[in-house]
């Protein structure tokens, strides 16, 4: 809904960069070609856990056409990591998952690379493998990192191993409250690993410039993080590294290396370029991606809730055992978020959750689309229905009963400024077919083996690193915007141009948002965390206002008016209320050449100020409710989604179609995790389904139309009251579908995926098939 006071905000102006994409202009990382480039490839461990006894690269080096072969011995003895510095770019002494990079080659052709990789002889001494994170915590489990201490904040007396991070959430007196509850429901839920499976393979390219600087091209979500990794791991200062972001064919957190320090290929490529003295480009094969890059981890979640007879929740206790994979990666952050979210986003006066993030011999946890949230929500929102069933309450009513209101607190948010949860629940219920009669919600009549399910979600996107924007007004009045976030179908080229156009009174087509060049763009943590609109949107708005103020200052004397009385409309700077008194924007921007040179507006998203604001007045996080109707084939276990509604509060939708697109895509990813997606490992830690032949993402034929509804009036922390929209829709779908299956069959599936096999097994165990 466009607010009347805005010209372009709230409209769905076609995205910047759309034409290049539909005509197939080669713009992605994979389309890059460097003059004289060599092809790079990575030798990956064939053991999930082993000591490296020796690496012999001599035969590979002798192969004609090979220009460089590198191992850990060729790089500085430096490790990297986010929470813990626990990883080498090329494995040293030990490999910890099947896919761990061990060596790399640069050669004239992909075929020679392949041959050379085969000629590298690595002697391994296999070690016991641990795949399951709970097994990894036991005393008899193999130790993955000998030199990584257990977290200092572990509670006294807890005997665990391989734990890389521990979080405790504690509110009130859960023990006492639980004892006083009328009903206690105690369950265990589990989610499995999925891969983000962005369609464009990851690439890295690097070349050493004549002045010795290194240029790196990456289809990375966090180019500045890539710069940090390359500089650190090659032992060079940041000003000697320039990272140029290419366009991205999807990311979903999986291409956020630098953020995750999980599977960085850019430093390896840079090392090859240094050694080969030639440009080198690495393109990962899809199957190689599936086994080696960062993923959405599995979590095992114990959840116990006490309620009163009237449906009031009084206490929750629980435990999260979160899989970090072989290195800490993003595990500590994601695991902590999962632990917090297991406390739910309803009124929860008493709560205690322990969260353990555990090393296993699997690939590394990344910040994939709502890290920790979808996992927690599968448990929390399935559990809510289990409780409602035991209370003999409708799931909608039970949720509304425990929904917070403004001024209340929830786990992880000390004070709520605004709460859209209730409205999203009621709207989703109505859209899926519930009838409200008084306080009662009556579910629609459904056919045989059909069921209805609802689940809610929340997300925190207002906290995180800051970021800046530079808005330059060119002498013809067109505008160039520099931000540190890349476009992967997200805000940078949907909503951001609208913000600049709105504040500078020019058409959207006059705005260009340039891709990230770490030599020129403002530093940024990357396009992650649903934060593009919050960080870059806020910064762009303030930068555009700064530029506008500079223009007004210069125009004021010419228009014989105070700068405060000016406005820009249709490329004209004019006196408010006297449109005839005007001067073209281009005239003033040109005049600037003789005054300040160029109009350069600067703006920042000040995270500290945002946090202070939230502390003072409370937080208004986004909330959502999804509802669906499914049909279960009780002979085969197949689940078909007949109808799906997604109701979201995104504050003010700056670009509604972009917001809907984010919601629909995130929903689809979690529908995939619900019904069919899972990275399957054998006991040795080998991925059994690395290629798209067996790794099944949703195709159009199995997807329902996602009917998106936005609720309005709950301003968020972003510009104009916007909230992030990229991740939250991943939160509810798994539970919504599980709840609908339960409603259809009476069978509660507590381990993902809700695959035909798991559903039929559940039906058979319940004597229903």
């Amino acid at each position: 809904m466009a607010k009347a006071e805005y010209t372009v905000l709230g409209t769905s102006t076609p995205r910047m960069g759309g034409v290049e994409r539909v005509i197939g202009a080669g713009i992605y990382g994979i389309d890059l070609e460097l003059k004289g480039e060599l092809h790079g490839g990575i030798l990956r461990s064939q053991y999930a856990h082993a000591k490296i006894v020796s690496i012999d690269t001599s035969e590979a080096k002798k192969l004609p056409g090979v220009h460089a072969v590198v191992t850990a011995a060729d790089a500085p003895d430096v490790r990297y990591g986010r929470t813990y510095i626990d990883r080498y770019m090329l494995a040293k002494n030990k490999v910890r998952y099947m896919g761990d990079p061990v060596a790399a080659v640069a050669a004239d052709s992909p075929a020679i690379v392949k041959q050379a990789l085969k000629k590298i002889k690595v002697a391994y001494e296999p070690l016991p493998v641990v795949i399951d994170q709970e097994e990894a915590m036991k005393p008899e489990a193999p130790t993955l990192h000998d030199d990584m201490p257990l977290p200092k904040n572990l509670p006294e007396g807890v005997k665990v191993k391989n734990v890389c991070s521990y979080t405790a959430v504690h509110v009130g007196d859960p023990e006492k409250a639980m004892a006083e509850a009328d009903l206690v429901v105690d369950e265990v839920y589990e989610t499995k690993m999925i891969h983000p499976q962005y369609l464009e393979p990851r690439i890295a390219a690097a070349q050493v410039e004549p002045d010795g600087r290194i240029t790196v091209w990456a289809n990375a979500q966090a180019p500045f993080g890539v710069r940090t990794d390359v500089a650190r791991l090659l032992g060079i200062p940041l000003n000697k590294v320039r990272v140029l972001a290419t366009e991205l064919g999807g990311g979903f957190g999986g291409k956020a290396s630098g953020i995750t320090s999980g599977a960085a290929i850019e430093p390896i490529c840079a090392l090859l370029a240094v050694k080969a003295k030639r440009p080198v480009m690495i393109v990962l094969d899809k199957a190689e991606e599936t086994i080696s890059t960062t993923i959405r981890s599995g979590a095992k979640m114990y959840i116990k809730t006490g309620v009163k007879k009237d449906g009031t929740i009084v206490a929750r206790t629980g435990k999260v055992v979160y899989d970090a994979g072989a290195y800490s990666g993003f595990g500590a952050m994601a695991g902590a978020r999962c632990t917090n979210m297991l406390g739910g986003w309803y009124l929860m006066p008493n709560c205690h959750i322990d969260g353990y993030v555990v090393y296993t011999n699997k690939q590394v946890c990344g910040p994939v689309r709502g890290p920790g949230g979808p996992q927690a929500a599968f448990a929390v929102e399935s559990h809510m229905d289990s409780i409602a069933a035991k209370l003999n309450m409708d799931p909608v009513e039970f949720r509304l009963k425990n929904t917070p209101k403004a001024g209340d607190k929830i786990v992880g948010v000390p004070k709520l400024r605004d709460v859209s949860l209730g409205e999203t629940i009621k709207t989703a219920a109505e859209k899926i077919g519930y009838k409200q009669v008084g306080a009662q919600f009556i579910a629609p009549a459904l056919g045989k083996n059909q069921g209805i399910g609802i689940a809610t979600g929340s997300w925190i996107e207002s906290a995180g690193p800051g970021g800046g924007a530079v808005v330059k007004v060119n002498e013809d009045g067109s505008v160039t915007v520099h931000i540190g976030k890349i476009d992967m179908g997200t805000a940078p080229r949907f909503g951001i141009p609208l913000i600049a156009a709105e504040e500078l009174g020019v058409p959207v087509k006059d705005i260009t948002v340039v891709n990230v060049d770490t030599d020129a763009s403002p530093w940024d943590a990357g396009t992650v965390g649903s934060r593009a609109i919050i960080v870059s949107g806020t910064a762009t708005r303030l930068a555009a206002i700064d530029a506008r103020n500079q223009l007004f200052k210069m125009a004021a004397s010419r228009l014989e008016a105070s700068p405060d009385d000016l406005e820009i409309k249709d490329r004209q700077i004019r006196v408010k209320g006297t449109p005839s008194k005007s001067v073209p924007l281009a005239t003033i921007a040109t005049a600037a050449h003789n005054i300040i040179g160029e109009v350069i507006g600067r703006g920042y998203c000040d995270n500290q100020a945002m946090m202070a604001e939230e502390k003072a007045h409370g937080n208004s996080p986004p909330f959502t409710a999804h509802a669906c109707i499914v049909e279960v084939d009780t002979n085969t276990g197949n689940v078909k989604i007949l109808k799906y509604v997604a109701v979201h509060d995104v504050g003010f939708p700056i670009h509604p179609v972009a917001v809907e697109g984010q919601i629909e895509g995130a929903t689809a990813m979690s529908i995939g995790q619900a019904l069919c997606e899972q990275v399957v490992f054998d006991k040795d830690g080998r991925t059994m389904n690395p290629s798209f032949v067996d790794y099944l993402m949703p195709t159009i034929n199995m997807m329902p139309r996602i009917e998106t509804t936005l609720v309005h009036g709950y301003a968020g922390a972003g510009p104009y009251g916007a909230k992030g929209a990229g991740e939250i829709a991943c939160v509810p779908p798994m539970a919504a579908i599980a709840n609908a299956i339960y409603n259809a069959t009476g069978v509660r599936i507590r381990t993902l995926p809700l695959s035909p096999e798991n559903v039929l097994r559940g039906l058979k165990e319940a004597g229903k098939a």
Partner: protein
């Protein structure tokens, strides 16, 4: 052994060499620099490399370059008429069906081929036409909108 591939791409005669093991996708992208056709799964399971081959949509990643000999091939680069986009291309932009855009060229080729078969596709026709094209960004809703919009415009 080097084969000489004489073929027609987007209406123009093209001749270039290829190995027998070269896929049509590699031939298009790496030899001829038609970078609009995208590489993804490389096993015929995602549709990103879809082109129109003798009037039919196929996965170029699992087709031999040698099969291009004497064939008539249309790639994404061949759809627009100068600066004027094909209605399917325009519809993808107008409906917000282009997020990251990586599946888009393959998608558009599948949809173009659909409209070559029928101007009034049913929901089943649409599903059949693009079930071999994975999109990870949109959840498909806006893509269906784009196809329906293009159907109105064609």
């Amino acid at each position: 052994m080097n084969l000489t591939i004489n073929t027609t791409i987007n209406g123009k005669a093209v001749s270039a060499g290829a190995e027998a093991s070269t896929s049509l996708l590699e031939f298009l992208r790496d030899t001829l620099s038609f970078k609009g056709t995208k590489l993804c799964c490389n096993t015929g399971e995602c549709g990103a490399c879809t082109i129109i081959y003798n009037g039919k949509p196929i996965n170029s990643c699992v087709t031999m370059a040698a099969d291009a000999i004497g064939a008539d091939i249309i790639t994404i680069e061949g759809l627009a008429d100068g600066d004027k986009l094909h209605p399917v291309q325009q519809a993808f932009i107008d409906t917000g069906a282009v997020q990251c855009g990586y599946c888009t060229p393959g998608y558009i080729m599948s949809v173009k081929a659909l409209f070559d078969r029928t101007k009034k596709p049913t929901a089943e026709d649409i599903e059949e036409a693009v079930s071999g094209n994975i999109c990870r960004c949109t959840g498909y809703t806006k893509i269906v909108d784009a196809i329906q919009l293009a159907a109105q415009k064609l």
